[in-house]
Amino acid sequence: MSRARTTGVLAVCSLLLAGVVAGEAWYVWGVSDPAPSAARPVVIGDIASRSAVEAAAQDAAAIFSVSWQDYDAHLDRAAGLMTDSFAAAYRSTAAPVRARVVSSRTRTTTRVAAAGVVRASPDEVQALLFLDQRVVAGSGAPSYNARRALVTMVRTDRGWLVGNVQTG
């Protein structure tokens, strides 16, 4: 085989193999993560989604457990569990709630009766929570509420934070 022919064969082999390696790299690293859909609502692993749902349950129990005696401190603690934008929205709605809670000397204790994952992507998880609340106003008898909450958890540098809460 002539030198020129050998050079040509080696060059073609290099190009072909480089194409194969590039194709393999694209398949492994170039395909983006699938987005959640109705047919595939949870596109992350069980452990990751479970840890986000557990964080949602813990945070919701903390956010919805409040006493008139330390309402302002509670507000700061609760805001620390939220994304900046949701914390701002939460604080803006807190003023009228604070007046009502303090004037009626209300204490609310919340526990999570059940929690499940609704949708989950690597950066955002939506959890359905069933909340059992015990509410005592002043020295009155306690009342009990069975509520539901749809909590959106957002992955941030500070871990999973509450990005939104819808209650019903």
């Binding site: 030198r3 050998t6 050079t7 080696l10 060059a11 082999c13 290099s14 193999l17 480089a18 194969v20 390696v21 393999e24 790299a25 398949y27 492994v28 699938p34 859909s37 109705a38 047919a39 595939r40 609502p41 949870v42 596109v43 692993g45 069980d46 749902v53 009766a113 059940a114 929690a115 499940g116 994952v117 609704v118 939506q126 959890a127 359905l128 069933f130 059992d132 009990y144 509420n145 069975a146 509520r147 539901r148 749809l150 019903g168």
Partner: protein, 168 residues
């Protein structure tokens, strides 16, 4: 062999090695994605099955009680189905005597846990109830349900429905 040939031969050998390693990586990635896709679809399938069963469960009309009960039974299995069907005659009589109508829809649902042949889903429903006690008026009625499902063949069937706490 010239220096150029040596360089090209080394490059071909390196690319060949990368391509062989790449095949293994592509194969593993493909298997991981197939597993993830099956898992993601499982979430969608169990949520759809639980939503359908919960919808049937909270839609019962005294004028069409038998059809309503049949709709629940179609998506049920095991002791739950047997018990539900066994008590159907009593349930129909009670509904007709009370002129009961229960309507509702699924507001949200989330997967508590799921493995290939078993799943637990929580479902929040919203709707109304009317009967002799309400004077025929439709009264809001929200339920928090825990639905247990079993996989039978290619279907997910309900093996239990339990209320989580009281109706809110």
């Amino acid at each position: 062999m010239t220096a150029t040939h040596r360089w090209l031969a080394a490059l071909v050998a390196l690319l060949l090695l990368l391509a062989v390693l790449g095949v293994a990586l592509v194969r593993r990635t493909h298997e991981d994605r197939a597993d993830a896709s099956a898992r993601a679809e499982r979430y969608g399938t169990v949520l759809a099955a639980a939503n359908a069963e919960a919808t049937a469960f909270v839609n019962l009309r005294y004028g069409a009680a038998a059809q309503g009960i049949r709709a629940v039974a179609v998506g049920a299995t095991g002791d739950f189905r047997a018990h539900y069907v066994r008590s159907a005659r009593h349930l129909v009589a009670t509904m007709q005597r009370q002129r009961s109508t229960l309507t509702g829809h699924v507001v949200s649902s989330g997967v508590v846990d799921v493995v290939p042949d078993r799943a637990t889903v929580i479902v929040a429903t919203s709707g109304t109830v009317s009967n002799r006690r309400t004077g025929g008026q439709e009264v809001p009625r929200h339920f928090r349900l825990r639905v247990t499902l079993l996989r039978e063949g290619d279907r997910w069937l309900t093996s239990d429905i339990a209320f989580v706490g009281d109706a809110a």
